[in-house]
Symmetry: C2
């Protein structure tokens, strides 16, 4: 059994949004907590699982919206733990992947607070499930690469495009909406074929966001036309050619609410 | 709610082993199934959640042991679905990551069977949670790369070492025990510093396997000395230097059952 003592901190992965994709352990931890600090990216259905007697503290972080900075979040967590609370820090996806867990782990350890991680389903896994594809293919997609394409204040994206432009890999780009035209151009310049299959998945697992399969040279256009401000993951590589959506070709913005034909519900 | 009709197939991620790391959705699907085809890698605690009236069919796949080939597994799944069963294909980790989901998806679709994926926690996420680290670090580990290093019958590993030897990335090597000396040598030859932190995690999430933090030039030696035949993931990169195990240095085989100090229980 998971042990959760007063004064402990758990960084808990909330998964992609669908409360059914929460782990059993995460569910138990949020029920045992006395306070839950949560991101804007945590699904509403997940938050609904927090019992009414547990204090809920939104701590922001969504690009473009007012939110607390990382140091303030660290301090809130530490103070709650030192006050003897059972602290859950609930993060969208998996705490170990692009979630700045490191800062929070360090802040807790510096104060001698026992801090642990409960993993979560990351958006790329959920998007693959929505699309009905494997992210890896024997002999064809033997490597899976996760990057973020979030650059602050319009700074140039500093990524190693040559190594990312690997036709034997699947590339999952987190927070890539704004950078989609750059990602498309740079990968093509670095040698990835223009017709490499690309999938854009908003609100993975929730069934209420855009799901589009297109090709690399249309990625920028498609992202601009079809993505909204919901969290999105962009998947690039031959594995996406196997998607159950691939035969449907390009979905324009007028067909945004494409049903998830593979996974029924959630 | 998840819909699971007679004649449907669900590829379900069993996660890393700890039954608490199963998703709520996966738990429901295995309770609703009439038959569960499961890998050798699926945790015993997960199998214990399958109700007694559900038929359990082991379908092997563990390197070095007798097991069914992929085509036979595909056929079993298809035949069960065509016979009107509610079929769960339970796979260790996440079905979309190094799990050959593609073959099973294709086999089902070729027969007009409705097939869906329920994602699972992949071993790298679970290993990071065990170690108490983030796999990504702002500015230092901005890319996360998953590869397998399983080569059949001693064939040479055909990987792009130059692109894998990225000091700003975290590399997760699945099925890498046998290839560990090669991985170490090739990454060093390609320019990765000899003292790059490396973690070896067996039976991630279960707390009963080797957990070692060492350095890249000692990876081969350490893997040979300390890894058994349990499923293992090797994590390489600066992010592992933040591990709560990092200060403990090298654990020899005599200290195999290192307690998971970060995550209490499971």
């Amino acid at each position: 059994m998971t042990q959760f003592d007063f004064g402990d901190v758990w960084l808990v992965g909330a998964g992609p949004g669908d409360p059914d994709l929460l782990t059993r352990k995460a569910e138990r931890l949020i029920r045992e907590a006395t306070v839950v600090f949560y991101d804007a990216l945590v699904g509403e259905g997940v938050l609904a699982l927090v019992p009414p007697h547990v204090r809920m503290e939104p701590v922001g972080k969504r690009s473009g919206r007012h939110s607390k900075d990382q140091a303030s979040i660290d301090r809130l967590i530490v103070e709650a733990a030192l006050a003897g609370e059972k602290v859950v820090r609930l993060k969208g996806g998996d705490p170990a992947i692009f979630a700045r867990a490191n800062e929070e782990l360090e802040a807790c350890r510096a104060e001698g607070i026992r801090v642990s991680i409960c993993p979560g389903i990351t958006a790329a896994s959920a998007a693959a499930a929505d699309l009905g594809v494997s992210l890896t293919l024997r002999g064809l997609a033997r490597k899976l690469v996760f990057v973020t394409a979030h650059s602050k204040n319009g700074a140039t994206l500093d990524l190693d495009w040559q190594s990312l432009a690997d036709k034997d890999a699947t590339l999952a780009v987190y927070m890539g909406k704004a950078a989609a035209p750059t990602v498309s151009r740079k990968l093509i310049e670095a040698g990835l074929p223009v017709d490499t299959p690309v999938a854009l998945v908003e609100n993975a697992s929730l069934g209420n966001g855009t799901r589009i399969v297109t090709r690399l040279d249309l990625l920028g256009l498609t992202a601009n036309a079809a993505l909204t401000d919901k969290p999105a993951v962009i998947l690039i590589g031959r594995a996406l050619g196997e998607s159950t959506f691939a035969t449907s070709g390009f979905y324009g913005p007028q067909q945004k609410s494409v049903e998830n034909s593979g996974s029924v519900g959630g």
